[in-house]
């Protein structure tokens, strides 16, 4: 006698995008957990073909409204690599500052408005706000501080318009950056407050043996530059990504799935970045992380909210350091001389590494583009998380099982639109008699 059970979540709340989750349960075991992405495929790689390489940052920023800087930075680095340009000094500092702003606003939104309600048993942030108004205000304040950095550096918060190949259309004066200092100091206090609050949450004991992948830089906690490293023993130049990573199509999704060749699924994002770069965090931030219950590595996806809090503190500190030391450059950008070439760029979006490859002709026209967003790289790991977590939760009533699965996905702060790719949950359960 067959016994089937269907749990349907029409739209997963508190993630960006639309997709579906199918759980297949047989004899009390989750044999399959599949993320089915229903969003129309995003044709940005095709949109870039035939465009001037200087248009890449403006086009790719439209891939995402919450992480446009990530796409712009990966794009300009890839074009500059192809053209033999090296941005350094104050222009490099401004790019790093813009990224601080993006991490701050993205992490703050996710920590407070999207993820915290899961741990405290609230359906959403507005219900949580009735009991935790101070923390919600802190999150909003952090988001505003991050947005303000992006407005000053990028021209506006959403799809910044001031980023260009070689630098910026306009650089700020020290006087224009000065007002950010007070706001960032207050934001830092709020970020520490949130970290202490989040450290009181109850975290399921769920350690995963992920292969962690992130950028690693000789001196800095990574934003724009570094080599690609993996916890399983990889250390490669950004230009060698395709030799070690590949994307595979899946019949049930418009998003591609990434693997390390010969090894399988991997994880990018805050857990990977933190675990592979803890020694690059300033000692005061390391101390805060330890006080919150984190070690030098973290492989529990539920504790990713702690890591985002730590990174929010770091983003405030780094932004303050960059503003303190800023001297406006003589020119807002390096001269761009078109030329044929292939270039690679890889930067750390809030959700993990975002890798671009562009082929350019001698007129500066893009012949080919390849963009690998972070969320698509995480899909296989997210599915395995779901399989394991759902397996432990099968005895729960349907609504609680659904909530557990949604929480497991939100641990990774997925950006489904970037991956082309939230959430209907269908559980197919059968038992052989």
């Amino acid at each position: 006698m067959k016994d089937s059970r269907t749990i349907r979540v029409d739209m997963l709340a508190r993630v960006e995008g639309e997709g579906a989750l199918d759980l297949e349960i047989r004899d009390g075991q989750v044999v399959s957990a599949r993320l089915n992405i229903y969003e129309p495929p995003r044709f940005f790689e095709a949109l870039l073909r035939g465009r001037a390489c200087t248009e890449a940052p403006d086009i790719t920023s439209r891939i995402c409204g919450i992480c446009p800087i990530a796409y712009q930075m990966s794009a300009v680095h890839a074009v500059e690599h192809a053209l033999g340009l090296k941005v350094d000094g104050p222009l490099r500092a401004l790019r790093r500052l813009a990224y601080c702003g993006e991490w701050l606003e993205s992490h703050a939104l996710h920590i407070v408005m999207l993820h915290a309600p899961d741990f405290l048993g609230y359906a959403d942030a507005i219900q949580m706000a009735r009991d935790h108004p101070d923390e919600v205000r802190a999150g909003l304040m952090l988001k505003k501080a991050g947005n303000e950095i992006m407005r000053v550096i990028g021209g506006r918060e959403i799809h910044p318009v001031n980023v260009k190949v070689g630098g910026f259309y306009r650089v700020p004066s020290r006087a224009e950056l000065a007002p950010l200092t007070g706001e960032l100091m207050r934001a830092r206090e709020r970020a520490v407050q949130l970290l202490k609050w989040v450290s009181t949450f109850s975290f399921p004991d769920h350690e995963r043996d992920y292969e962690l992948v992130a950028l690693r830089h000789p001196d800095e906690y990574p934003f724009n530059e570094g080599r690609i490293v993996a916890s399983g023993g990889l250390d490669i130049a950004v230009s060698d990504y395709e030799d070690h990573f590949e994307e595979r199509q899946s019949p049930h999704s418009t998003a591609l799935r990434s693997v390390i060749k010969g090894r399988g699924a991997y994880l990018v994002g805050p857990l990977a970045r933190y675990s592979l770069n803890f020694d690059r965090l300033p000692p005061p931030v390391q101390s805060l992380a330890r006080a919150a219950g984190l070690g030098p590595t973290c492989r529990n996806p539920f504790r990713s909210i702690l890591v985002r809090c730590v990174e929010a503190v770091y983003a405030c500190d780094e932004a303050l350091r960059l503003i303190e030391g800023y001297e406006p450059p003589p020119l807002p950008a390096l001269a761009v001389i078109p030329g044929a070439g292939i270039g690679y760029g890889c930067t750390e979006a809030p959700r993990g590494i975002c890798w671009h490859r562009y082929e350019i002709d001698d007129q500066g026209t893009l012949l080919a583009a390849r963009i690998v967003p972070p969320t698509s790289q995480n899909q296989l790991s997210i599915e395995e998380d779901l399989r394991q977590i759902a397996t432990r939760s099968l005895a729960l009533p349907e609504d609680q099982l659904r909530a557990v699965c949604e929480h497991a996905i939100r641990n990774h702060d997925p950006c489904i639109s970037c991956s082309a790719h939230f959430l209907r949950l269908t559980v197919h359960e059968s038992a052989d008699s």
Binding site: L109, M113, D124, A125, Q127
Partner: protein, 154 residues
């Protein structure tokens, strides 16, 4: 009342009728003690914008579409906060969610009014519906009148 009267035109001018909020704000005369802004529908940013305002007037397109250009004035101080919220995107809260959240955490100015103008078309790159565009000058006049009234009674 401390703080300026803040008028915010919410919307995206590149999405047809969604641009009517910013259009209304552009047509406002300069008024002492009144600050006017354009903003996209990013609820978190809106909450921070109005946090220190003495009073608030929001102007936004509504998607009801039964009568394009019809104007609704909603006194937000009389509206209870929603029981829950289901934002259409988790990258940003919408205006309704922002109002509800602000009511719950106590950062909606004591005098807050929303002018919602029914829109019909919200397609990217398309022109504003004529009836919606035609409503903007009258809404700007009413908003200016309301702002002056708020100042006078402060």
């Amino acid at each position: 009342m401390t703080g300026d009267i803040l008028v915010i035109g919410v919307g995206n001018p590149d999405r047809a009728d969604d641009g009517v909020g910013p259009l209304v704000v552009r047509q406002l005369p300069a008024l002492p003690g009144v600050r006017a802004l354009f903003r996209p529908a990013d609820g978190c940013a809106l909450i921070e914008d109005w946090a220190d305002a003495g009073a608030l007037i929001l102007v936004d397109a509504a998607s009801a579409a039964s009568h394009p250009g019809r104007v609704h004035r909603i006194d937000l101080s009389c509206q209870p906060p929603p029981h829950t919220l289901r934002p259409s995107s988790t990258h940003a809260l919408g205006v309704a969610e922002a109002i509800g959240l602000a009511q719950v955490i106590g950062c909606l100015p004591g005098r807050s009014v929303l002018y919602a103008i029914e829109g019909q078309c919200f397609g990217t790159g398309l022109p504003m519906t004529p009836e919606v565009a035609a409503a903007a000058p009258e809404v700007a006049r009413r908003v200016a009148e309301e702002a002056c009234s708020m100042r006078a009674s402060a």
